[in-house]
Protein backbone atom coordinates (compact mmCIF):
# COMPACT_ATOMS: atom_id res chain seq x y z
CA UNK A 1 0.00 0.00 0.00
CA UNK A 2 1.42 3.37 -0.91
CA UNK A 3 1.30 5.93 1.84
CA UNK A 4 3.09 9.16 2.37
CA UNK A 5 2.91 11.76 5.02
CA UNK A 6 1.21 15.01 4.24
CA UNK A 7 1.63 18.17 6.28
CA UNK A 8 -0.17 21.42 5.63
CA UNK A 9 0.16 24.51 7.78
CA UNK A 10 -2.50 27.21 7.72
CA UNK A 11 -2.07 30.68 9.14
CA UNK A 12 -4.94 33.13 9.52
CA UNK A 13 -4.41 36.85 8.93
CA UNK A 14 -6.90 39.62 9.53
CA UNK A 15 -7.48 42.83 7.66
CA UNK A 16 -10.25 45.38 7.65
CA UNK A 17 -11.22 47.21 4.49
CA UNK A 18 -14.06 48.96 2.74
CA UNK A 19 -15.40 48.36 -0.74
CA UNK A 20 -18.27 49.00 -3.07
CA UNK A 21 -19.36 46.44 -5.64
CA UNK A 22 -20.02 48.21 -8.91
CA UNK A 23 -19.24 46.76 -12.34
CA UNK A 24 -18.28 49.57 -14.75
CA UNK A 25 -19.70 47.71 -17.74
CA UNK A 26 -23.21 47.55 -16.26
CA UNK A 27 -25.80 50.31 -15.88
CA UNK A 28 -26.55 51.87 -12.51
CA UNK A 29 -29.83 50.01 -12.39
CA UNK A 30 -28.21 46.69 -13.33
CA UNK A 31 -25.58 47.21 -10.61
CA UNK A 32 -28.23 47.91 -7.98
CA UNK A 33 -30.13 44.85 -9.11
CA UNK A 34 -27.05 42.60 -9.10
CA UNK A 35 -25.18 43.71 -5.98
CA UNK A 36 -28.05 45.03 -3.83
CA UNK A 37 -26.82 46.84 -0.72
CA UNK A 38 -23.21 46.07 -1.68
CA UNK A 39 -23.73 48.68 -4.44
CA UNK A 40 -24.67 51.49 -2.01
CA UNK A 41 -22.82 54.54 -3.34
CA UNK A 42 -20.50 55.25 -0.40
CA UNK A 43 -19.41 51.68 0.23
CA UNK A 44 -19.16 49.64 3.41
CA UNK A 45 -16.55 47.45 5.10
CA UNK A 46 -15.66 44.03 6.47
CA UNK A 47 -13.26 42.38 8.88
CA UNK A 48 -11.67 39.91 6.49
CA UNK A 49 -9.75 36.75 7.38
CA UNK A 50 -7.19 35.51 4.88
CA UNK A 51 -6.07 31.94 5.56
CA UNK A 52 -2.83 31.04 3.80
CA UNK A 53 -1.87 27.35 3.56
CA UNK A 54 1.52 25.86 2.74
CA UNK A 55 2.41 22.23 2.22
CA UNK A 56 5.63 20.25 1.90
CA UNK A 57 8.11 18.15 3.81
CA UNK A 58 8.99 19.09 7.37
CA UNK A 59 12.79 19.26 7.82
CA UNK A 60 13.92 17.15 10.76
CA UNK A 61 16.28 19.72 12.23
CA UNK A 62 13.87 22.65 12.55
CA UNK A 63 10.58 20.75 12.74
CA UNK A 64 9.08 23.65 10.81
CA UNK A 65 7.35 23.49 7.45
CA UNK A 66 7.91 27.24 7.33
CA UNK A 67 9.16 29.81 9.79
CA UNK A 68 5.99 31.55 10.96
CA UNK A 69 7.75 34.90 11.49
CA UNK A 70 9.06 34.66 7.89
CA UNK A 71 5.59 33.83 6.55
CA UNK A 72 4.09 36.68 8.57
CA UNK A 73 6.66 39.11 7.15
CA UNK A 74 5.94 38.00 3.58
CA UNK A 75 2.16 38.32 3.97
CA UNK A 76 2.55 41.70 5.63
CA UNK A 77 4.74 42.95 2.79
CA UNK A 78 2.84 41.39 -0.13
CA UNK A 79 -0.75 41.74 1.07
CA UNK A 80 -1.57 43.38 4.38
CA UNK A 81 0.44 46.55 3.93
CA UNK A 82 -1.69 47.47 0.91
CA UNK A 83 -5.05 46.02 1.93
CA UNK A 84 -5.43 46.54 5.68
CA UNK A 85 -7.45 49.63 6.57
CA UNK A 86 -7.81 50.62 2.96
CA UNK A 87 -10.58 51.12 0.47
CA UNK A 88 -10.32 48.14 -1.86
CA UNK A 89 -11.73 50.06 -4.86
CA UNK A 90 -8.77 52.44 -4.55
CA UNK A 91 -6.14 49.85 -3.62
CA UNK A 92 -7.17 47.48 -6.44
CA UNK A 93 -8.50 49.85 -9.12
CA UNK A 94 -8.60 47.34 -11.97
CA UNK A 95 -11.08 44.89 -10.51
CA UNK A 96 -14.49 44.76 -8.90
CA UNK A 97 -13.55 43.99 -5.29
CA UNK A 98 -15.76 40.96 -4.82
CA UNK A 99 -14.21 38.47 -2.44
CA UNK A 100 -13.65 36.13 -5.39
CA UNK A 101 -11.51 38.79 -7.06
CA UNK A 102 -9.78 39.83 -3.83
CA UNK A 103 -8.89 36.20 -3.01
CA UNK A 104 -7.44 35.75 -6.51
CA UNK A 105 -5.49 39.03 -6.15
CA UNK A 106 -4.06 37.86 -2.81
CA UNK A 107 -3.00 34.58 -4.45
CA UNK A 108 -1.34 36.46 -7.33
CA UNK A 109 0.53 38.78 -4.96
CA UNK A 110 1.72 35.91 -2.80
CA UNK A 111 2.81 33.85 -5.80
CA UNK A 112 4.75 36.80 -7.23
CA UNK A 113 6.57 37.41 -3.93
CA UNK A 114 6.91 33.75 -2.86
CA UNK A 115 10.51 32.99 -1.80
CA UNK A 116 12.11 30.04 -3.57
CA UNK A 117 13.06 28.41 -0.25
CA UNK A 118 9.46 28.41 1.02
CA UNK A 119 7.31 25.28 0.84
CA UNK A 120 4.55 25.23 -1.76
CA UNK A 121 1.67 27.70 -1.45
CA UNK A 122 -1.25 25.27 -1.07
CA UNK A 123 -4.18 27.65 -0.96
CA UNK A 124 -5.79 30.95 -0.07
CA UNK A 125 -9.11 31.11 1.76
CA UNK A 126 -10.72 34.51 2.20
CA UNK A 127 -13.51 35.01 4.72
CA UNK A 128 -15.53 38.15 4.00
CA UNK A 129 -17.69 37.57 7.08
CA UNK A 130 -18.08 34.56 9.35
CA UNK A 131 -20.78 33.34 7.02
CA UNK A 132 -19.05 33.31 3.66
CA UNK A 133 -15.65 32.26 2.45
CA UNK A 134 -13.88 31.93 -0.88
CA UNK A 135 -11.11 29.47 -1.52
CA UNK A 136 -8.42 28.91 -4.14
CA UNK A 137 -6.53 25.64 -3.94
CA UNK A 138 -3.27 24.87 -5.65
CA UNK A 139 -4.16 21.34 -6.69
CA UNK A 140 -0.76 20.07 -7.89
CA UNK A 141 0.52 18.48 -4.70
Amino acid sequence: MSTRSFTRLTRRYRFSASHRLHAPNLSGEANRELYGKCNNPFGHGHNYFAEISVTGTVPEDSGLLVSVPALDALVERAVLRDLDHCDLNHALPNLVPTSENVAAEIERRLSAAWPREFPKLAGVRLWETKRNRFELRNEEQ
Binding site: T3, S5, T7, L9, T10, D61, S62, G63, L64, P69
Partner: protein
Amino acid sequence: MLITRRVEFSASHICASPALSEAENRALYGAGANPHGHGHNYVLEVTLAGEPDPVTGMVFDLRELKEILQREVVLPMDHRFLNREVAPFGDVVPTTENIAAEIWRRLEPNFRGPARSGNVRLNNVRLYETEDLFVDYSEAAL
Protein backbone atom coordinates in the same frame (compact mmCIF):
# COMPACT_ATOMS: atom_id res chain seq x y z
CA MET B 1 -17.72 9.18 5.04
CA LEU B 2 -15.56 11.35 7.27
CA ILE B 3 -16.32 11.90 10.96
CA THR B 4 -14.43 14.36 13.15
CA ARG B 5 -14.16 14.70 16.89
CA ARG B 6 -12.69 17.73 18.61
CA VAL B 7 -10.79 17.68 21.89
CA GLU B 8 -8.70 20.27 23.72
CA PHE B 9 -5.59 20.20 25.85
CA SER B 10 -3.38 22.87 27.36
CA ALA B 11 0.37 22.56 27.41
CA SER B 12 3.57 24.57 27.48
CA HIS B 13 6.59 24.30 25.20
CA ILE B 14 9.71 25.97 23.85
CA CYS B 15 10.47 25.94 20.13
CA ALA B 16 14.24 26.17 19.72
CA SER B 17 16.79 23.90 18.13
CA PRO B 18 19.87 23.04 20.20
CA ALA B 19 21.91 23.16 16.98
CA LEU B 20 21.20 26.89 16.50
CA SER B 21 22.27 30.05 18.29
CA GLU B 22 19.83 32.08 20.34
CA ALA B 23 19.63 34.72 17.60
CA GLU B 24 19.05 32.08 14.90
CA ASN B 25 16.33 30.45 16.98
CA ARG B 26 14.65 33.78 17.52
CA ALA B 27 14.70 34.53 13.79
CA LEU B 28 13.29 31.09 12.92
CA TYR B 29 10.74 30.53 15.69
CA GLY B 30 10.02 34.10 16.85
CA ALA B 31 8.59 34.44 20.36
CA GLY B 32 8.20 30.64 20.37
CA ALA B 33 11.89 30.46 21.28
CA ASN B 34 11.58 32.47 24.52
CA PRO B 35 13.82 30.58 26.96
CA HIS B 36 11.36 29.90 29.76
CA GLY B 37 8.63 28.64 27.46
CA HIS B 38 5.00 29.58 26.97
CA GLY B 39 1.72 27.72 26.52
CA HIS B 40 -1.34 27.22 24.35
CA ASN B 41 -4.85 25.88 24.51
CA TYR B 42 -4.42 23.33 21.75
CA VAL B 43 -7.49 22.21 19.84
CA LEU B 44 -7.25 18.83 18.13
CA GLU B 45 -9.63 17.67 15.42
CA VAL B 46 -9.33 13.98 14.59
CA THR B 47 -11.01 12.75 11.41
CA LEU B 48 -11.82 9.10 10.69
CA ALA B 49 -12.86 7.67 7.33
CA GLY B 50 -15.21 4.72 6.98
CA GLU B 51 -18.69 3.61 6.04
CA PRO B 52 -21.61 3.59 8.47
CA ASP B 53 -22.31 0.15 9.91
CA PRO B 54 -25.62 -1.11 8.45
CA VAL B 55 -26.87 -2.10 11.90
CA THR B 56 -25.63 0.71 14.16
CA GLY B 57 -25.63 3.48 11.56
CA MET B 58 -22.27 4.63 12.92
CA VAL B 59 -18.84 4.85 11.28
CA PHE B 60 -17.24 4.53 14.72
CA ASP B 61 -18.50 4.66 18.27
CA LEU B 62 -17.87 8.27 19.32
CA ARG B 63 -17.71 7.25 22.96
CA GLU B 64 -14.87 4.86 22.14
CA LEU B 65 -13.18 7.57 20.05
CA LYS B 66 -13.39 9.92 23.01
CA GLU B 67 -11.75 7.31 25.25
CA ILE B 68 -8.94 6.75 22.73
CA LEU B 69 -8.29 10.49 22.47
CA GLN B 70 -8.23 10.79 26.25
CA ARG B 71 -5.82 7.87 26.66
CA GLU B 72 -3.44 8.64 23.79
CA VAL B 73 -3.38 12.46 23.79
CA VAL B 74 -5.14 14.29 26.61
CA LEU B 75 -3.87 12.30 29.60
CA PRO B 76 -0.21 12.36 28.49
CA MET B 77 -0.16 15.97 27.16
CA ASP B 78 -2.72 18.06 29.05
CA HIS B 79 -1.18 20.44 31.58
CA ARG B 80 2.33 19.25 30.75
CA PHE B 81 5.54 20.93 29.64
CA LEU B 82 6.04 19.12 26.35
CA ASN B 83 9.83 19.51 26.12
CA ARG B 84 10.36 18.02 29.58
CA GLU B 85 7.49 15.63 30.15
CA VAL B 86 6.29 14.19 26.83
CA ALA B 87 8.33 11.96 24.52
CA PRO B 88 9.79 12.53 21.97
CA PHE B 89 9.91 16.27 22.63
CA GLY B 90 13.04 16.08 24.74
CA ASP B 91 14.85 15.53 21.42
CA VAL B 92 12.33 16.73 18.83
CA VAL B 93 11.32 20.40 18.67
CA PRO B 94 7.61 20.54 19.67
CA THR B 95 6.47 22.65 16.73
CA THR B 96 2.82 22.36 15.74
CA GLU B 97 4.00 20.28 12.76
CA ASN B 98 5.84 17.79 14.99
CA ILE B 99 3.11 17.58 17.64
CA ALA B 100 0.51 16.85 14.94
CA ALA B 101 2.73 14.09 13.50
CA GLU B 102 3.30 12.59 16.99
CA ILE B 103 -0.44 12.60 17.67
CA TRP B 104 -0.93 10.75 14.37
CA ARG B 105 1.64 8.12 15.43
CA ARG B 106 -0.07 7.64 18.80
CA LEU B 107 -3.58 7.41 17.36
CA GLU B 108 -3.11 5.49 14.13
CA PRO B 109 -2.59 1.98 15.64
CA ASN B 110 -6.05 2.28 17.24
CA PHE B 111 -7.71 2.42 13.84
CA ARG B 112 -6.17 -0.55 12.03
CA GLY B 113 -8.06 -3.61 11.02
CA PRO B 114 -11.78 -4.17 11.12
CA ALA B 115 -13.15 -2.18 14.04
CA ARG B 116 -16.31 -3.15 15.87
CA SER B 117 -18.26 -0.65 13.82
CA GLY B 118 -16.65 -0.94 10.42
CA ASN B 119 -13.35 -0.82 8.59
CA VAL B 120 -12.44 2.61 9.87
CA ARG B 121 -9.16 4.42 9.20
CA LEU B 122 -7.54 7.48 10.65
CA ASN B 123 -7.84 10.12 7.93
CA ASN B 124 -6.51 13.42 9.27
CA VAL B 125 -5.19 15.11 12.39
CA ARG B 126 -5.68 18.87 12.58
CA LEU B 127 -3.98 20.64 15.47
CA TYR B 128 -4.74 24.29 16.24
CA GLU B 129 -2.00 25.97 18.24
CA THR B 130 -4.10 29.14 18.25
CA GLU B 131 -7.17 30.03 16.25
CA ASP B 132 -4.79 31.70 13.78
CA LEU B 133 -2.41 28.77 13.25
CA PHE B 134 -3.14 25.14 12.55
CA VAL B 135 -1.48 22.12 10.93
CA ASP B 136 -3.09 19.19 9.11
CA TYR B 137 -1.16 15.92 9.17
CA SER B 138 -2.02 12.68 7.42
CA GLU B 139 -0.37 9.47 6.36
CA ALA B 140 -3.54 8.15 4.81
CA ALA B 141 -3.18 6.24 1.56
CA LEU B 142 -3.54 8.63 -1.33
